[in-house]
């Protein structure tokens, strides 16, 4: 087990290193460079100044040399300055990470709390009206463009009815938990609706599979109650394949957060990455994308461990 953990951690570091090079090269492909932006905003800059600035930032050196310098600094915990915010990259990134965690955590917990019980009930009687309704609903949410859903929610609940604020994370100057929660309502509804369908389908499929096993019939035969069969006998086993699914949807949740955060102007990681890419903020975009990759990799790793914990038949070597 410990050998497995060490090997996986080593792999994660390796993948992260490879990704950092790929992302570094990709970001170099974005239009313009920071010095061009400075020239555009300051007419007094001479060509000599521009060349000096390029040398200062190392932009005149070949790609691999630049990457090596960046990687060396990053390994010492220095991710450079964010051009857009004029502050150290990590100081910009970390508060945003917290905001995204709040948004994603709330919506994911709500999604599972709604989708899983419904999936269990739908699996109990395949073909019943509840199953059909659940199936239709999951089809609808899988096919829904999340940004459009967000747009419609803003149109109805913010523009027409004025019940909730259309965007942001808090009213400037007001603050307070109630205010934050108020701003979370619409983004959370969007994410819950979008993720609801897939999670329901996964749970239903896993439960249908489990309920067909012989040991369920045995449990019925010995007179166990329906609720006990569903929760103790079936659900415990149905959860095993779901662990992987939950971990994998972590990555897509992050992608979804980019759209949702951008739509609601919610200051999270997704919007930060989007703004950084469009604003030519190399350091910030790079660090943000690497953080996003790291979180996905760690979620997959956690899934492998949880898988072994939930199913004693699985032994990693």
């Amino acid at each position: 087990m410990s050998r497995f953990v060490i090997r996986r951690l080593f792999e994660i570091v390796l993948v992260l290193a490879a990704m950092s090079l790929v992302i570094y090269a990709l970001i170099g492909l974005m239009p313009g460079d920071p010095v061009n932006v400075m020239i555009a905003s300051n007419p007094h800059l001479t060509p000599a100044d521009a060349a000096r600035l390029k040398a200062l930032y190392g932009l005149d050196k070949p790609l691999l040399e630049r990457y090596a310098a960046w990687a060396n600094a990053a390994l010492h915990g220095n991710f450079g300055y964010s051009r857009l915010y004029a502050r150290p990259t990590l100081a910009v990134l970390l508060p945003r990470l917290g905001n995204t965690a709040i948004l994603m955590g709330t919506s994911f917990a709500l999604t599972l709390a709604l989708a899983w019980p419904l999936g269990v009930l739908a699996a109990r009687r395949p073909g019943s009206w509840l199953d059909d309704a659940a199936n239709l609903e999951s089809f609808a949410t899988i096919s829904m463009p999340s940004f459009w859903l967000a747009l419609m929610l803003i149109l109805v609940f913010a523009v027409r009815l004025g019940w909730f604020p259309p965007g942001g994370a808090a009213t400037i100057g007001a603050g307070g938990i109630a205010d934050r929660a108020d701003h979370l309502v619409l983004p959370v509804i969007t994410l819950v609706l979008v993720n609801f369908g897939p999670q329901l389908r996964y749970m239903r499929a896993a439960m249908v599979e489990t309920l067909n096993h012989d040991y369920i019939r045995t449990a019925r035969a010995k007179g166990a109650g329906e609720a006990r069969i569903l929760t103790f006998h079936a659900l415990r086993n149905a959860l095993i394949p779901l662990i992987t699914v939950v971990a994998l949807s972590f990555g897509s949740l992050f992608s979804g957060a980019l759209v949702t955060e951008t739509m609601f102007a919610y200051p999270g990681m997704g919007k930060l990455i989007y703004d950084a890419v469009l604003g030519n903020d190399y350091n910030l975009a790079l660090a943000g994308l690497l953080f996003a990759t790291l979180m996905t990799l760690l979620a997959n790793f956690a899934a492998d461990l949880a898988y072994a914990a939930a199913d004693p038949r699985i032994v990693y070597r």
């Binding site: 492909l29 940004f147 459009w148 747009l151 992050f254 980019l258 990455i273």
Partner: protein, 288 residues
């Protein structure tokens, strides 16, 4: 042909067919209305429905119905082309990995897992923002009107092949041990011949199902990227970039924001129903 008896196949397929016919009829609709999709009319911006403009006009006074039809052409074209390209790429990778096995299989599947685990949308945003000039794309192609179309198809193909690759690899692994493949081997057939003539025809079902599901996913992805300004660029209409403009005028003309989204939703839903129905009809083992 029994697949056509599946109600989901008929419903989803019928919807897609109707949509395809509608978008192909666009030139006739334009003639009938006596206007063109790019005709700007600033005196009649955000107008309501009328005989001349059955669904009204957009923020530049262009006919909304025609714009929606053009957007449909673009969305369906991107969805189908990219899904087919991704299917070809995924099949090739999955076939090679499953057939040869060993280290090659491990390496290819690691890459597949890696692509699946990536934060897809943030990466696509970076890729879509890449400067074609720095990539060395010739200027004639770079500045052509359809460039954003090629670009989005290439991008989506690049990330969309993983599902097919995994499916094909899994099925190839089990097919490879079956007697008819061994017989072909014993008869001295080349690797190439076994893969293309003996294994590939047995893979059609999973590939067709995965591809029809992929069309829907790709249309969603295209609409998000176009909405963010990184996909199809105006003046070419796409349902995604029509919503970008609609967001600003949402208080004045809400229907401008409703129609494109509704069409994306219905199209993707039709693709998903078709894929799901095909799966149930063609693959009885997977019946739920």
């Amino acid at each position: 042909m029994s697949a056509l008896l599946q109600p989901r196949v008929r419903f989803g397929g019928g919807m897609l067919l109707a949509l395809a016919i509608a978008v192909l009829l666009m030139p006739f609709v334009a003639q009938l209305l006596g206007t063109h999709v790019d005709t700007v009319d600033l005196y009649h911006r955000l107008a309501g429905p009328s005989l001349r403009h059955p669904l009204g006009t957009d923020e530049l006074g262009r006919d909304l119905l025609l714009r929606l039809l053009e957007g449909g052409q673009v969305s369906l074209l991107v969805g189908i082309t990219a899904a087919l390209a991704a299917a070809v790429l995924g099949t090739a990778i999955g076939l090679v990995a499953g057939y040869f096995g060993g280290r090659l299989d491990v390496a290819l599947m690691r890459i597949t897992d890696g692509v699946i685990a990536l934060p897809l949308l943030p990466l696509l945003v970076v890729l879509a923002a890449a400067d074609l000039h720095k990539l060395g794309v010739p200027a004639t192609l770079r500045e052509s009107a359809a460039m954003s179309l090629y670009r989005i198809i290439a991008l989506v193909t690049l990330v969309g092949w993983t599902t097919v690759a995994r499916l094909v690899r899994g099925t190839t692994l089990s097919l490879r041990r079956q007697d008819f493949v061994r017989a072909a081997e014993a008869l001295g057939a080349s690797h190439r011949r076994i893969m293309l003539v003996h294994i590939l025809p047995n893979l059609t079902t999973p590939i067709i199902v995965a591809t029809s599901l992929a069309v829907g996913e790709i249309i969603l992805l295209e609409s998000v990227l176009s909405f963010l300004g990184l996909g199809i660029t105006p003046p070419l209409a796409s349902w995604g970039n029509m919503l970008t403009g609609a967001e600003e005028t949402i208080a004045l003309a809400p229907m401008l924001a409703v129609y494109p989204g509704l069409l994306i939703f219905l199209t993707v839903m039709a693709c998903n129903l078709l894929g799901d129905g095909l799966q149930q009809a063609l693959d009885p083992r997977q019946r739920r």
